[in-house]
């Protein structure tokens, strides 16, 4: 029975990951390219130069292709909530149901009005109103990402709510605490800035291809300058928000931070691993080394985690087995209190069914005392609280290395463009084109860190994935997994094919 649940959970997780990863191929380009188009069109309106209009229309067509292929791919995740994650879906429905529905309606009306003006209105509305519509599409598209990212932030740091044991739901107590929790804010700012970065890489990369092919060189250079400036600003902002996000992870999800850095034994002046090869046989609590090879920067992890280079950063062992000297309660101890909470909830349920209010009140008091560790009560072993360390570690480091590389590319593009020799820098143009792919790798790696790093939790500390899921047959989830794999691959191939065709035609179309 337990194996069957695990099998279903793993397939449900795989299916959700597959859908989310495919969805996130389309979304960041939409978010970032919408702003780049607004910049291009603003320059056209300001200068009146028809070349900028032609350039704007070309990138708008690329934007339209990406938007059309990607639209509604996220709805599949909502289907999965109702089928595979019904317990989770029920429990958080009060918090996210209405805002997500409002956001969906808002996005629909925005798209039906301003998208139409943006694509159909070139000769039918004034230049000013057309530009306004383009900006509204950019702002609206990015705003429509707010609630889904707030929801994700809440799952990582469940603030502003209370559990109602009669309805088996989390209910919102404070809207501001949910919408403006530091995790939600940094989730939104880091995600959108990384999307701006990706779109900038895309525009720079496609423009570099034009330069390599000696086609549309004037347009390519103009696009490159605007995208490189936007990309550079986005990179700096992304680094800043990434640092804040990591600080929040250290404060609220210390296990994730420990996995991101492969830190098993907590330390003062903890080093940041600049590069390393994880020892895959290493388990929590054993004596094996965590790394086969590692390049360490002393004190940097402590600085990142606590803004103090000499401070203590807990490791996986501390968080699993506890560290009394550092006042850290481990998962082992939290499992004991968590099971008290689960048992009390059971007694409350039975007492209420029998109408025994005295027992129900007593059970609820015990539950309230221990509910902060509720999720640990569902774990069968303390090491279950450890996320997959190697996946989290490598994804984090790939994201950081690529995130450091991209601003250098933007700087080089700007340097050689202003020097007037960008078209002769073949190596740089090849690197720019390759960076499109690397940009997507960084995006996906970032989400792997965020989502794999918080395992086993669907809601941090309160609901593990094995309780969040529905008791359905694993074979059902397997079937739909492969249907999605086929559907999304076909969509992706269609996008690439149509986009490549349009890029081959270029802005002359």
């Amino acid at each position: 029975m337990e194996d069957q649940i695990l099998n279903t959970v793993n397939w449900a997780r795989a299916q959700f990951a597959l859908t989310a990863m495919y969805h996130w191929i389309f979304v960041p380009l939409t978010l970032g390219l919408s702003f780049l188009i607004a910049f291009f069109e603003s320059i056209y309106v300001k200068t009146g130069n028809e070349e900028w209009k032609k350039l704007t229309k070309f990138w708008m067509t690329i934007f339209g292709i990406n938007f059309a292929i990607g639209v509604a791919t996220g709805i599949i995740m909502e289907f999965q909530f109702g089928t595979n994650w019904s317990n989770y879906s029920w429990m958080v429905g009060d918090i996210f149901g209405a805002p997500l529905a409002i956001e969906g309606i808002f996005a629909f009306f925005l798209e039906a009005t301003f998208f139409a003006v943006m694509f159909f209105g070139w000769h039918k509305v004034t230049k000013g109103f057309h530009l306004f519509s383009t900006w509204m599409v950019a702002i609206g598209s990015n705003l429509s990402a707010v609630w889904i990212l707030v929801a994700n932030g809440w799952m990582q740091y469940p603030a502003g709510m209370a559990f109602n044991p009669d309805k088996a739901r989390f209910e919102m107590q404070n809207f501001t605490d949910v919408a403006l929790s530091p995790v939600a804010v940094h989730k939104f700012t880091h995600t959108t800035s990384s999307a701006f970065l990706l779109a900038s890489l895309f525009v720079v990369g496609v423009s570099a291809l034009f330069l390599l092919q000696k086609r549309h060189q004037k347009m390519a250079k103009r696009s490159m300058v605007v995208a490189a400036v936007f990309g550079l600003i986005a990179s700096i902002f992304c680094a800043f928000t990434g640092d804040e996000a990591a600080f929040n992870v250290a404060q609220r999800q210390p296990m994730k931070l420990a996995a991101m850095e492969g830190l098993y034994v907590g330390a003062d002046n903890a080093p940041l691993i600049a590069a390393g090869i994880i020892n895959s046989r290493k388990k929590a609590g054993d004596d094996q080394p965590a790394f086969h090879q590692a390049v360490k920067i002393p004190g940097l992890l402590s600085l990142l985690a606590n803004r103090n280079a000499n401070s203590f950063v807990p490791g996986i062992d501390d968080l699993v087995f506890g560290n009394a000297g550092r006042n850290i309660v481990g998962a082992e101890q939290r499992m004991i209190t968590g099971k008290l909470a689960v048992a009390a909830l059971g007694r409350y349920k039975e007492a209420k069914a029998k109408g025994d209010m005295t027992e129900a009140t007593a059970a609820l008091a015990v539950f309230d005392q221990h509910k902060g560790d509720l999720g640990y009560g569902y774990l069968y072993s303390a090491v279950q609280a450890v996320p997959p360390v190697a996946t989290t570690f490598y994804s984090f480091h790939i994201m950081v290395v690529l995130g450091t590389l991209f601003p250098l590319i933007f700087l080089l593009v700007l340097y050689f463009t202003f020097k007037g020799t960008i078209e002769s820098q073949r190596w740089l143009n090849i690197a720019c084109f390759a960076s499109i792919f690397l940009g997507y790798v960084a995006q996906q790696a970032g989400w792997v860190v965020a989502e794999v790093g918080r395992q086993p939790w669907a809601i941090q500390g309160l609901l593990p994935v094995n309780v969040a899921t529905t008791n359905v047959a694993a074979s059902n989830v397997q079937t739909t997994f492969f249907i999605f794999l086929t559907l999304f691959t076909v969509l992706l191939l269609a996008e690439i094919r149509i986009m490549v065709k349009q890029i081959k035609i270029g802005p002359e179309a």
Partner: protein, 74 residues
């Protein structure tokens, strides 16, 4: 039809008519939405709690039941 409504209708009609790449994209969008809502949602993605329980009270009891099952000890 009032003149404003007619203008709006013509705006969309001419816009759709003059589309080039857009026609292919609309075909993809319609096909995709059909597969998602008319096939996947209906045949593969029933809402478990809505299908199996008639009211919110029963749904809450079912979820609470799941939340009060202790995991096996290892």
């Amino acid at each position: 039809m009032t003149s404003k409504a007619k203008q709006l209708y013509l705006f969309y009609q001419e816009g759709f008519r003059s589309m080039l790449v857009g026609r292919t994209l609309w075909k993809i969008i319609i096909l995709k939405l059909f597969i998602m809502f008319a096939v996947l949602k209906i045949f593969f993605f029933p809402n478990y709690l809505k299908e199996n329980f008639t009211n919110d009270g029963d749904r809450a009891r079912h979820v609470l039941e799941s939340l009060t099952i202790m995991p096996p000890s290892h």
